[in-house]
Symmetry: C2
């Protein structure tokens, strides 16, 4: 276990223009840990009810995800999200959000989790993200994911989290919202001033950028003819990124760039099918092939313009 992932573990019912999937495996920690499992040995901290299907547990175990930190509440019901997407599927519409056991969740880290060198604070309430940080013993790199809900309801608390992590991963519109500017470079700059080492700006189907105080790197999304279900794309990105980081000997700009590529590749697989169907069942060859295609798609043979 070299990578701690905290987030939701859920059961989703999803409808998109391409079909529907009911009671499938979902949640930020689920998507992230499955994506990370190709690069590192993730362990998750989260909670489910005892209604959580055995096949879901088995799928995570098969991917080598350490489940010691997954609390199973006797008599409790697992977090269930039901929602749908329309048109270009840029926005998720919730039909119902039953937090169930997640409502009173507090992350309790098993002793050996506390020394994990890499940490992903998945998209959960910033108060819970802080609780995780309190329990950690000098991790090497902490990535924090978040969403518009916490920016709107808990901006102060979220800022406190941002001040205590290394990298923040955030949507372009959310970054603008948090920083009060419509300029992405300006938003990235303001976030970096909180003491962050890097800021990752997700641009949806336009790709992703990583900003440092003196660095900038950008990747396009993998161009897919068909996106079936965007659920979990951001979590798969975060998982792929931090998983690839955990594999790097040195934490430097090159490692960040490889991480961005790994995240981009895992997010692209994620949206090709519902739930974790695609990401849970990949070969190393498939991942490397797509990474190679991605590298090819940004190769700039530039030697002087004039």
């Amino acid at each position: 276990m070299d990578l701690l992932i905290v987030g939701s573990v859920a059961v989703d019912s999803i409808e998109t223009p391409f079909g529907r999937a009911d009671n499938v495996l979902g949640g930020s920690a689920t998507y992230a840990s499955i994506a990370a499992s190709y690069f590192a040995s993730p362990g998750i901290v989260g909670v489910v009810g005892d209604d959580f299907a055995r096949k879901h547990i088995n799928l995570l175990k098969k991917r080598g995800v350490d489940l010691e930190g997954l609390q199973i509440e006797p008599g409790g019901k697992t977090f269930h999200w039901s929602g749908y997407y329309e048109g270009d599927m840029n926005q998720a519409h919730s039909r119902s959000t039953c937090l169930n056991v997640f409502e009173s969740f507090h992350p309790r880290l098993p002793e050996r989790y506390r020394r994990a060198p890499f940490v992903l604070l998945g998209n959960i309430h910033p108060a819970l993200q802080l609780e995780v940080l309190e329990q950690m013993k000098s991790p090497r790199l902490i990535l924090c994911d978040t969403m518009n809900l916490w920016i709107e309801t808990e901006p102060k608390l979220l800022e406190e989290v941002f001040r205590r992590v290394d990298i923040v991963c955030i949507n372009d519109s959310e970054a603008g919202q948090f920083c009060g500017t419509s300029s992405i470079p300006q938003a990235a700059d303001r976030l970096l001033r909180l003491g962050l080492r890097r800021v990752i700006i997700k641009r949806g189907s336009h790709g992703v950028s990583i900003f440092g105080r003196h660095s900038f790197f950008s990747l396009p999304a993998v161009p897919l003819p068909e996106v079936k279900d965007p659920t979990g794309a951001g979590d798969s990105f975060a998982g792929g990124f931090i998983g690839r980081m955990a594999r790097s000997r040195t934490i430097n700009e090159n490692a960040f760039r490889r991480g961005l590529a790994a995240g981009t590749v895992m997010a692209s697989f994620c949206v090709e099918d519902f739930s974790c169907r695609k990401t849970a069942d990949l070969t190393n060859q498939e991942i490397n092939d797509r990474a190679a295609a991605l590298k090819k798609s940004v190769r700039l043979p530039l030697i002087g313009l004039i």
Copy 2:
């Protein structure tokens, strides 16, 4: 003269959150030819009234733009556009559009223009774009730019133009509109099926992609802390792209990629000030420096993910 550029030559009055500029040089052919002038020898075909200020003529001449094809209508008034941008400046709002001499414009190509190997059909009515094509003698590469107005009002005519050119340059939303899909890869595919060699999709501040039947390349926009005036960014991109192509010995994927970089660099300079103030007054060093920074921002040091 190795590059023919057809489009509007105009006088603009522009207001943005960063200030205003009245009666400044504008128009698609103007922006494009100035951007192209650092890489090639462009000549423009367009029309102005005899009210067109001498200083505008001098600026174009100073940039080496061939003006034999610029018709000056005695007693006529130059095309004048007045507009403003708000907030994130993603959309131009027109206050007034006085076509003036441009209303009855028909492109007449001087004899030596007809053999230009490279052609940019700037953003004008597709019927006029077709008139230009009728007068050309076997050009090597034709790039066609357009806008939502023509997609809405002249889709059939526009499709005819697309069938007769090599590359189309179009916004992401316009591509979706023209092809009836919200998926950019799908839109690019449908456009390529018209017989195009490449399709360039402009993604605004998210960058630009070029799709071929078996190729895909993408570049981010240069991250700028301040965008003063987005007017002419698309035209500067198109001019930089086709200008750089005119400089290439061979028309292949590498040349297209260098073209995309040149266009990206010129568009980034364009938006840093009102009108052509910045693009008209650059050094080769400034352009090469920004191109080098752009190249650095996409360098992916990937050697195997797993």
